[in-house]
């Protein structure tokens, strides 16, 4: 068994919090730039220009791109030949978030109870998705998720007869209704199949894919392209103020499902779709 200390996890994760929140990944930066050149709305072009300028300031000053530094979503793949030493892995992940959000001057946006909304003061707990995988490594992916766009996400338990057309319809409706609330241009993660809880997890994972990298499955890739084109004809535009740049990408993940079901989950994300990863 390979041993990995909780201290290593804490240290890596705390650094990833700062990195993810202050540096806009180049795939998104490039996508915004390309869209700016094509955008027909003058207001829209102006907004896209401001977004690029904002990302540059954030990187230079190492300050958060957006004030909503999100709830910390962590995907953790644990190799089955790894033994974690020095404490619990879940505690270590939360400690990494706690330290990163404190050291990086990031916003603490988590409340203890959905009704009695007292801030936990350290942005924990993180939402952690574990996967046990072969090998002797631990892979951590941190995706801080803002809630302006999270609130615009939806799940639909469609009937199999609704088919691909039904899925496309609900995806486009969700993007349309999200409008300016989700800080467009959006990145749209879609999970199709699985069960009631699997589909949104797939949708969240779909957001991790680099913008512009299509699905390896042919028909899914075609769906992604068609939906992106149609999303950009909705008129929503940058910040919902009109234009042809509503989404930067639509990413779809699929999974086997039940004979009676067609779950479709749409996780809306914004132009500040963040993630950092590391392998230990």
């Amino acid at each position: 068994m390979r041993e990995i200390s909780v201290d290593t996890i804490i240290e890596k994760l705390s650094w990833m919090c700062i990195e993810a929140n202050c540096r806009l990944n180049s795939d998104i930066h490039n996508a915004i730039r390309t869209c700016k050149d094509k955008e027909r709305s003058e207001i829209g072009r102006d907004i896209l220009e401001q977004l690029l300028e904002n990302a540059d300031i954030a990187k230079k000053e190492m300050m958060p791109i957006c004030q909503d530094t999100g709830m910390a979503i962590v995907f953790c793949e644990v190799g089955q030949e790894v033994r974690i030493t020095g404490g619990s892995l879940t505690d270590a992940i939360n400690e990494g978030i706690r330290q990163g959000y404190e050291k990086g001057y990031l916003r603490k946006s988590v409340v203890k109870d959905p009704f009695f909304r007292e801030n936990t003061g350290d942005n924990t707990p993180a939402i952690i998705h574990y996967d046990i995988v072969p090998g002797d490594k631990v892979k951590l992916i941190l995706a801080p998720k803002g809630f302006g766009s999270e609130n615009m996400s939806r799940i639909h338990m469609l009937a199999p007869s609704d088919g691909m057309e039904g899925a496309k319809r609900v995806i486009l409706e969700t993007i349309d209704q999200a409008g300016g609330n989700a800080c467009p241009p959006m990145v749209v993660g879609v999970g199709i199949g699985g069960s009631f809880e699997k589909a949104p997890q797939l949708a969240k994972k779909a957001l991790l894919r680099p913008v512009g990298e299509g699905s390896p499955i042919g028909y899914v890739r075609e769906m992604e392209q068609e939906l992106l084109e149609k999303a950009n004809k909705l008129g929503v535009g940058p910040q919902g103020l009109g234009g042809i740049t509503t989404a930067l990408a639509v990413h779809i993940e699929t999974f086997p499902t039940h004979i009676a079901g067609l779950p479709v989950a749409i996780n809306i994300s914004c132009h500040v779709t963040r993630h950092a990863e590391c392998e230990i």
């Binding site: 027909r40 709305s41 207001i43 907004i47 401001q50 977004l51 300028e53 904002n54 300031i57 954030a58 000053e61 300050m63 958060p64 791109i65 957006c66 004030q67 909503d68 530094t69 001057y105 990031l106 916003r107 603490k108 946006s109 909304r117 801030n119 003061g121 302006g148 609130n151 409008g179 300016g180 609330n181 800080c183 149609k230 004809k233 909705l234 008129g235 929503v236 535009g237 910040q239 919902g240 103020l241 009109g242 234009g243 042809i244 914004c270 132009h271 500040v272």
Partner: protein
Amino acid sequence: MVYNLETPLTEEAVGMLKAGDKVLLTGVVYTGRDAAHKKMVEQLERGESLPFDLHGNILYYVGPTPAKPGQVIGSAGPTTSYRMDAYAPVLMDRGLKGMIGKGDRNRAVVESMIKNQVVYFGAVGGAAALIASAIEEAEVIAYEELGTEAVRKLKVRNFPVTVVIDAQGGNLYETEKAKYRNVE
């Protein structure tokens, strides 16, 4: 049109602004989001006065990140406004003249804006580091226990906003989207 406006907002200024106008705001702006709105409206219901005078003033829906040493404020972009819709009309009835946020408002808010002659500005959601550079001073003046959600008094210079819903009900979210919409 592009305007340079100073706060507090006058009746004339509010009356002349049209959806689509760009405005550079200079002066005092107060911050408040979900929890602060709930507290303010509860205070009013109990007959108490608010931590600041609403007359002619602007509320910016924002929960900034903590300031680093040497900074006035951290990143400070707008949050989504519809969550304040339930509270906004009460505040407009008490003299609030402007709101800054992102995203569309409900009908009750727009009706109250027309009745009370109030303007709703959009700031660029996510452009939080850029907006921070327009903030010269920041001071928590109420509900400190709310952390990022506390009410702050900001002094801003040339804070870039767009009139998205004007005091006549003109709404950029509706008119601009329609121009670029191309769906069967």
